[in-house]
Symmetry: C2
Subunit: 200 residues, 2 copies
Amino acid sequence: MPDHNALPLVILAEKFASLPGIGMKSAQRLAYHVMSMNENDVEEFAQALINAKKNVRCCNICQNLTEREICPICDDDERDKSVICVVEGPKDVTAFERTREYNGVYHVLHGLLSPMDGITPEKLRIKELLTRVANGGVYEVIMATNPTVEGDATALYVAGLLKPLGIKVSRLAFGLPVGGILEYADEVTLYKALENRNNM
Amino acid sequence: MPDHNALPLVILAEKFASLPGIGMKSAQRLAYHVMSMNENDVEEFAQALINAKKNVRCCNICQNLTEREICPICDDDERDKSVICVVEGPKDVTAFERTREYNGVYHVLHGLLSPMDGITPEKLRIKELLTRVANGGVYEVIMATNPTVEGDATALYVAGLLKPLGIKVSRLAFGLPVGGILEYADEVTLYKALENRNNM
């Protein structure tokens, strides 16, 4: 913002702009919006930021974000602990939970391998997954990373570490999205759908 | 977010979602992003929110947001105090300042008339504008609200109050945007461009 603007506003706009997906123009609009909020609401917002950062940690078992030592999913006796679904981040856990069909547990890697960006295996929670599997009681690990270069590479790498432990390692199915139209599917998706066809 | 998520995260996501232009999905992503920031940065963000709200006020003269009693523009002896450009909000001041062509001062209404939304003349800083003009020394007031129903109505309403005071009241020109292509201009813009044509 130009220098005729009040400094605290410029600083606030810069903080908003540092968030992913928010450009300088939106950040400015958000800063102005904060001015129109009442003081109480602004303080609650500030407190929510600090609380989230201070009180949310990684689950000791699955590494998903939680307020407790052990997250509600890992702590739930109804969940099948012998099946672990490995995902990139907490938002993927949310996506699977929305299906209401999965009854196993999760393991959150907190990223995908990307050596070009300096994300090497040590930066992900892979060691913790291996320890979980080594402790026994695990029958299957489902690699549920995105069907992207990084997602596939991570799935392959982790699968390579898990297979010697003698457990079943699977990957999500790729094919036509349900409700999608065949003619609009991209070539790779269509090829995957053909390759992975099922008997009727 | 479903209830398997940590409560402080859910609260933070809701705060983000309460901002204009941020949906629940983006809000969730932003909340997760805050988790990946370091604690210092999160505290600075929280402090920036509080500082902006606490230390930024309206200029005693033009009502633009500033840290001081009188904003830098109203306080600048080089600016022509006899011309006042009336705008909807502080971001419009920024837009005019970017042109580097306007040397008058501003008056920020903090909104546009919209009786359906309960925004009546008393809710805007119109009284302050009338006081400024009544105090003398003003030669021209430029109504620079948006060319929308609310913007036009506000401009007409304020102009009606100012004209009896015997000053010049003008409105921004409407026409083809510079660099635009005639064939893509909407009918109203093209009509305005024709109507307001200038001699060459």
